[in-house]
């Protein structure tokens, strides 16, 4: 038992989250419906504790603690993502509280699942073994399937859950197949052994190449990169808005974190091959995401395509890292992805928070036209949405601009100025649909035929989430230094 003592200590944050998840699910049946709020506050409390432990877990930036015979590591890179994920999950829970009540699906197990998904994500970002990563991914995905179908009375929600499950299971299978091939090559699923095996067998081994492609496809599904994005619009639209938020920010960040670790630490020897593949995928992703978003009338669907496009921008940073030359190597590129995704969480969280609370009569107003005239009735809410939309479009002085600045800087440094130019031209395309939301809010009057004009239901928890989101967007837009240096330091442990 003492053998595992240090190991368990290393996994303490994950354990806290998982235990709290079980506790919430056990407590749920014996909690009266009127006091279900307590479950949410319990979860938030656990996350706060977890955040504190994670932040203090490593003594110095270059420390890399291995646990469970090198299945997971505690390093600065994992810590960065865990802090982001815990923070985002906490805010999502606060956002869910009023939303679920308004939608009359305030179920206790929701908080259990969100914590289970988080524990899966935390395993994903800290494991250095393909099977452990797979376990984390599955724990996250299975929880998300359930949460997507939470609104059992809505056919769209159930349809989204079914679609998500089928396609997700399929992609997991592909991922697993790739892992098994790599196991055949290296005799181990540890990233370090795989890197070693690739070093000795050479980069032209067809088995390794096939496995790389399979892993790229599997992760492509999780990242919602084109052409593996098909599930995203339906699932984002059908899932309850709080779950969509969680998917768009936390699941995407965790998938990127694991994806980068696998390809840099495990398959780094094949950089030249897969960087070309991801270069192509990144262009396709941002072109398709931005162009198709234009024609959407449902704002959740529009943000689904926008999230696809943002994955494309983040992938540019990753490609730049793979092609990076010189003394700094891939560091600026990888750090730019971390900066980009962290900043993306703030604006997306804020945008979905506004959407989730827009009520039209008794139901959720999720058409873009439902925002008509919001600026006249609720100027503050409209202004916040304006800030989030400007940030998503990458207009300074918001955080979105800083994110793009770092990604494109890495791209230009890696000699991909043309790619930055293409990406920025499609940022103009994206500005069109983001500004359309602003146009509808500020320049159009509400539809006179509807007797109940859409309005925003506010609550203290929601106001707190919105305040955090807008503070993040503006603060990091004006003073990105703390985040940038944190990301630049954290990325150094990735090798």
């Amino acid at each position: 038992m003492s053998l595992y003592g240090t190991d368990l200590l290393a996994l303490l944050p994950e354990l806290i989250v998982a235990v709290t998840a079980c506790l919430v699910i056990v407590l749920d049946p014996i909690t009266p419906a009127s006091r279900r709020d307590l479950l949410a506050w319990l979860s938030v409390g656990a996350l706060a504790l977890c955040l504190g432990i994670t932040a203090e877990q490593i003594s110095a930036l270059n420390v890399r603690v291995s646990a469970f015979s090198d299945l997971v590591v505690i390093d600065a890179y994992a810590r960065f993502w865990k802090i982001v994920l815990c923070g985002v999950t906490g805010l999502t829970i606060l956002l869910s509280l009023p939303y679920l009540k308004a939608e009359r699906i305030h179920l206790g197990e929701y908080y259990g699942f969100i914590l289970l998904a988080l524990s899966g994500m935390m395993v994903m970002v800290s494991s250095v073994d393909l099977l452990t990563i797979y376990l984390g991914t599955e724990l996250m995905s299975l929880s998300l399937y359930v949460m997507t179908g939470l609104n059992r009375s809505k056919p769209r929600s159930l349809e989204a859950a079914a679609k998500y499950f089928v396609l997700g299971a399929f992609s997991s299978g592909i991922l697993l197949y790739g892992i098994s091939l790599l196991y055949g090559v290296a005799g181990s699923t540890k990233l370090i052994s795989i890197a070693g095996a690739i070093g000795t067998r050479g980069v032209d081994d067809p088995l390794v190449l096939i496995a790389t492609i399979l892993l790229a496809v599997g992760f492509g599904f999780k990242l919602a990169a084109v052409p593996f994005h098909m599930w995203t619009p339906d699932v984002y639209q059908g899932a309850p808005t709080s779950v969509t938020t969680f998917m768009a920010v936390a699941a995407k960040a965790a998938s990127f974190a694991a994806f980068m670790r696998v390809f840099v630490e495990g398959l780094g020897g094949l950089k030249a091959d897969w960087s070309l593949l991801f270069l192509l995928i990144s262009i396709l992703t941002l072109v398709l995401g931005n162009v198709v978003a234009i024609v959407q009338t449902n704002i959740k669907r529009m943000l689904a395509y926008s999230s696809i496009a943002h994955a494309g921008y983040a992938l540019i940073g990753f490609v730049a890292a793979a092609r990076g030359v010189g003394a700094s190597g891939g560091t600026p590129g990888l750090a730019s992805v971390m900066i980009y995704l962290t900043l993306y969480t703030f604006m997306t969280l804020g945008a979905f928070a506004v959407i989730g609370m827009l009520r039209k009569g008794g139901v959720e107003g999720e058409e873009i036209d439902d925002f008509a005239g919001l600026a006249k009735r609720q100027p503050l809410a409209a202004f916040l949405m304006l800030v989030f939309m400007a940030s998503l479009a990458g207009i300074p002085p918001t955080a979105g601009f800083i994110g793009k600045l770092y990604v494109f800087m890495a791209a230009v440094e890696a000699g991909l100025a043309w790619l930055a130019a293409i990406a920025l031209i499609f940022a103009v395309v994206s500005a069109y649909y983001y500004m359309r939301v602003v146009m509808v809010m500020y320049m159009r009057d509400p539809n006179p035929s509807s007797d109940t004009p859409p309005h925003l239901v506010t609550s203290p928890a929601l106001s707190f989430v919105l305040a955090c989101a807008v503070a993040g967007v503006i603060f990091f837009g004006l003073f990105p230094n703390p985040l940038v240096s944190f990301a630049l330091q954290s990325v150094l442990t990735l090798k």
Partner: protein, 519 residues
């Protein structure tokens, strides 16, 4: 000349503070707060005119604070003889915009004034930023306020005009960002505008960068054929929006060419000169012809802007002292004159609710003061000697004459056409046979409207009769710009060591050898 007092930061902060105050203000107080904030900004800016030392090193009132450490981006501000008149013009125009919107804006006054004030901060920021990323932040930060200004408080077709303006200018400026990042890696890992202006870059790179800069600045100027957003935006924008667009926003494109394209990319600028001159002359003649055909007063002035801004870009790209000084002078003149003309149109629109020439005929009898001022500004716009535009256009044409006589002949055609469309407009609007049903309701200018127009009329004559204070302040900076271009030509492009030359001050000896100084 480092000044310990942060003049420029104060210039930036005051309007922003006013905009924040709008959140707590009432609708009726909003106008007074906006007026107070813009006047306070003017009071801060005016001393700079006298504190500015025309003979001293290029950048004055500098501030230099680290903003982002990796990559090194600075909150770096400064003024030279080129930006000083533009900053003064900006802060001078803004109180007039507030006054012009006093009664014209009746809905969401707080929001309107807040947007105006945010615009002021961003516009001043563009002219004083000495860090390329900081410049870009201010440059792009203007987009959303301007979009709202046109889209919320504009005319009937405002949605189309607003998004057209937004997408055109954004599309132009995103390539600027790529160019900035490329320059960072080629120019010694710095975003410092002055340091980048000292660097030497390979010829092919310069060509690409020049095109990227051109995309951003030509849309803003706007140069033919990127001008199509301008008539729409001008016509649909509220009066204050039109004035800001014409007086200040258009100058940013020209400022960009002068501050970035010429000193950073001298070889490409020289290579592209024939094309730039050709586009400028096309803009001069085409804009004037289009203005001739307009029946809407705002559209007429919008197209006259295209024509007049053609003189500015012409003056810049003939690349000599007279041309560039004329261009800078013309930037200020156009800001004053065209701004005033848009204010005049706004005032008549408040009375007759029509901008059509046909509906506003024969105003001399009912509105003598208005008619007098309109004639003054129209004569200034067509470049009558004794008014401001004459000095600017004359200098531009002298500069062009040194470059090519044929180009001068074509450009002069623009002045003739300007006289035609403006005098024709005056003939109808001021002295035409009045249409009886409008007359009884028309009252002449009130105190507020006189306060808006008279300062501009005084500036028209002051610059027209005694431009020396203005020209002497910009002289040294224009000389520096031209010197930095000729120096980069001397240095072979393959020598990266040429980029390591000292600060701009070191060039003052070389200035003696520069050709073609007027004075």
């Amino acid at each position: 000349m480092t000044s310990s007092f942060p003049w420029l930061s104060l210039l930036l902060v005051l309007p922003l503070a006013g905009a924040v105050a709008m959140y707590f203000a009432s609708e009726s107080a909003a106008r007074w707060i906006a007026l107070a904030a813009t006047l306070a900004d003017l009071c801060v800016a005016l001393p700079l005119w006298w504190l500015f030392d025309p003979q001293a090193s290029p950048m004055q009132f500098t501030e230099h604070i680290a903003w982002i450490t990796a990559p090194p981006i600075y909150y770096s501000l400064g003024l030279d003889g080129i930006s000083l008149p533009l900053v003064l013009m900006t802060v001078g125009i803004m109180p007039l915009c507030v006054l012009a919107s006093w009664n014209a804006i009746t809905t969401r006054v707080r929001g309107f004034m807040a947007v105006l004030l945010v615009m002021e901060t961003a516009m001043v920021g563009v002219f004083v930023a000495l860090d390329f990323v900081l410049f870009y932040v201010f440059w792009e930060a203007m987009l959303i306020p301007m979009y709202l200004l046109i889209g919320v408080w504009g005319g009937p077709n405002r949605l189309y005009a607003a998004i057209k303006f937004f997408l055109y200018t954004l599309a132009g400026s995103v390539l600027l960002l790529v160019a900035i990042l490329v320059l960072y890696f080629y120019g010694g890992h710095t975003f410092d505008i002055l340091a980048l202006s000292q660097g030497t870059y390979p010829a092919s790179l310069q060509t690409w960068l020049f095109l990227a800069f051109f995309a951003a600045f030509a849309v803003k100027v706007p140069m033919f054929p990127f001008h199509t957003w301008l008539p729409d935006a001008h016509v649909e924008a509220p009066t204050a929006g039109s004035v800001i667009l014409a007086s200040i926003l258009l100058k940013m494109g020209a400022y960009g060419f002068l501050r970035f394209s010429l000193p950073m990319l001298p070889d490409a600028s020289r290579d592209f000169t024939p094309l730039m001159v050709a586009l400028s002359i096309i803009a001069i003649i085409y804009g004037a012809y289009m203005a001739l055909a307009q029946v809407d007063l705002k559209k007429l002035i919008a197209y006259s802007s295209v024509s007049h801004m053609g003189f500015v870009s012409l003056g810049l790209f003939v690349l000599n002292q007279q041309g560039i000084e004329g261009a800078v002078l013309q930037m200020v003149n156009h800001g004053i004159t065209t701004g005033a003309l848009f204010l005049c149109v706004g005032m008549i629109y408040e009375r007759t609710h029509s901008r059509l020439i046909a509906d506003n005929v024969g105003l001399a009898a009912p509105m003598p003061q208005y008619a007098t001022l309109l004639v003054i500004f129209a004569l200034s716009s067509l470049g009558l000697p004794g008014t401001n535009s004459f000095v600017g256009e004359f200098l531009v044409l002298v500069g062009t004459f040194l470059w090519s006589k044929i180009a001068t002949a074509f450009a002069s055609l623009g002045i003739v056409l300007a006289a035609t469309y403006l005098l024709w407009m005056i003939q109808r609007v001021v002295y035409g046979v009045p249409s009886p049903h409008h007359l009884p309701t028309l009252r002449d200018l009130n105190q507020r409207e006189l306060a808006t127009l008279v300062p501009l009329a005084l500036l028209v004559f002051w610059i027209g009769l005694y431009p020396n204070p203005l020209v002497s302040r910009m002289h040294q900076s224009v000389t520096n710009t031209i010197d930095s271009m000729s120096r980069a030509k001397v240095a072979p492009t393959a020598h990266p060591s040429a980029g390591g030359r000292g600060p701009l001050l070191a060039d003052s000896e070389a200035q003696l050898t520069t050709q073609g100084t007027l004075r």
